[in-house]
Symmetry: C2
Subunit: 244 residues, 2 copies
């Protein structure tokens, strides 16, 4: 399995992906699922993938090849983030058609893709692209998308996150969402790939790979557990009728 999350906030974009892939419990590997595209000062895009690894690698390789071989359209020449989402959706459909002869096979080889970014002179945008090649866009009401093993890490996001949450606090919230998922589900694993994009910067961030040994991640894992345990002790004890 996989867990990827992407946030579209007033202050910028946050992307985090785990790196664990598995085909059964005895074939576990580490692959990046977060890919950066763009041109410094002109456009910035991140693609995150979940699902069949052969499919997602093929889609990403096609996107990279289109740029290298200057095949039009490509992610460096599309006129909007919407067109970028259309291009990725179309690539995904072609890859899936090549390997599947039935809807059941397509479901087996399917994948989900998140696309976020900004082109100079336009707004930041975030898309969730389905295996069918169509997609939805994040809004102020729903400022984040998840793909993969999404349920464990959703409650903290639903409670603590809004479009107006400051970037560094949204990053903390997302890292805790990952920690919650990793603790409860063995198919999502470290290291994590993290990338933060400040609104309108049009920079290409290097991104950070967060390993088990990362001092900050270790610190908030421990701090967060302490906060929850302490919080549980501090909230009011149940009224006596709960014990009737």
């Amino acid at each position: 399995m996989t867990y990827c999350v992407a946030l579209l906030l007033k202050e910028g974009l946050v992307f985090i992906s785990d790196t664990r892939t598995n085909a059964g419990v005895d074939h576990i590997s580490s692959f990046t699922k977060l890919f950066r595209f763009g041109i410094e000062g002109e456009r910035f895009m991140v693609v995150q993938t979940a699902g069949n690894l052969a499919t997602t690698q093929s889609v990403v390789t096609r996107l990279q090849h289109q740029i290298a071989a200057q095949i039009e359209p490509n992610l460096n020449t599309v006129g909007s983030m919407f067109e970028a989402a259309e291009l990725i959706g179309a690539s995904l459909r072609r890859v899936l058609k090549n390997v599947s002869e039935s809807p059941e096979q397509e479901a087996m080889y399917g994948c989900s893709i998140l696309l976020g970014g900004q082109i100079a002179g336009q707004e930041m945008e975030l898309y969730n692209i389905y295996p069918q090649g169509n997609f939805i866009r994040a809004t102020l009401d729903t400022p984040y998308f998840q793909i993969g093993e999404i349920k464990y890490g959703k409650p903290i996001m639903d409670r603590a996150l809004s479009y107006y949450t400051p970037l560094d606090q949204a990053l903390r919230c997302s890292l805790i969402s990952f920690d919650s998922t990793i603790r409860s589900n063995v198919s999502v694993g470290m290291p994590l790939d993290v990338m933060v994009y400040p609104a309108n910067s049009l920079k290409l961030p290097k991104g950070k790979r967060v390993t088990e040994n990362d001092a900050y991640f270790q610190e908030i894992r421990k701090e967060w557990s302490d906060i929850l345990k302490q919080g549980l002790q501090n909230i009011a004890p149940p009224t006596t009728d709960y014990f009737d």
Copy 2:
């Protein structure tokens, strides 16, 4: 969907079930999924159900009928909690065989059942009974079971709960696990059925139905959200390399 949780702790047993059932989004109803059995001073059992409602109602009705008609064995006469689990597993198999002619149909009509309780002179026990009729027992290492829509509410249980957690604190933790699930998933809904059994009491608790308007549940929902938001603000901000 459904969410049920049952805890086997040093100080006693805790059971919580939601009451929402749905067959598609336009056929939503409220049914109890928590059933008490036993004889005051002699034995106490709770059965919780998730899955196909026709199947679970049929299993529970059979268990109740066996007692009323004094058909042996029944939950009031079995010699151990293990035998109670066997009896329920066998009932479940009979119900499923009656309605299904293929493994696919069986999967469609299947259900999961939690059984917890205590018989005089014996230890408290907690079982997770699968649609196949076999079952596992909770231990000190794994003192709780969930059935139904389990993922949203698992992280808080995994972080905060152990066999030695005091009963009232375990109840708080479980209620928060339900609140997290209800906020993130519309197929799990209020009211909740709650039952707490103090170890070796051999009493039959009345149990409590927790509605949206329950003052205590409203209070901890709000308190917990505040604790999480405050906690996120208080933990250390990410190191600068997260923004590279």
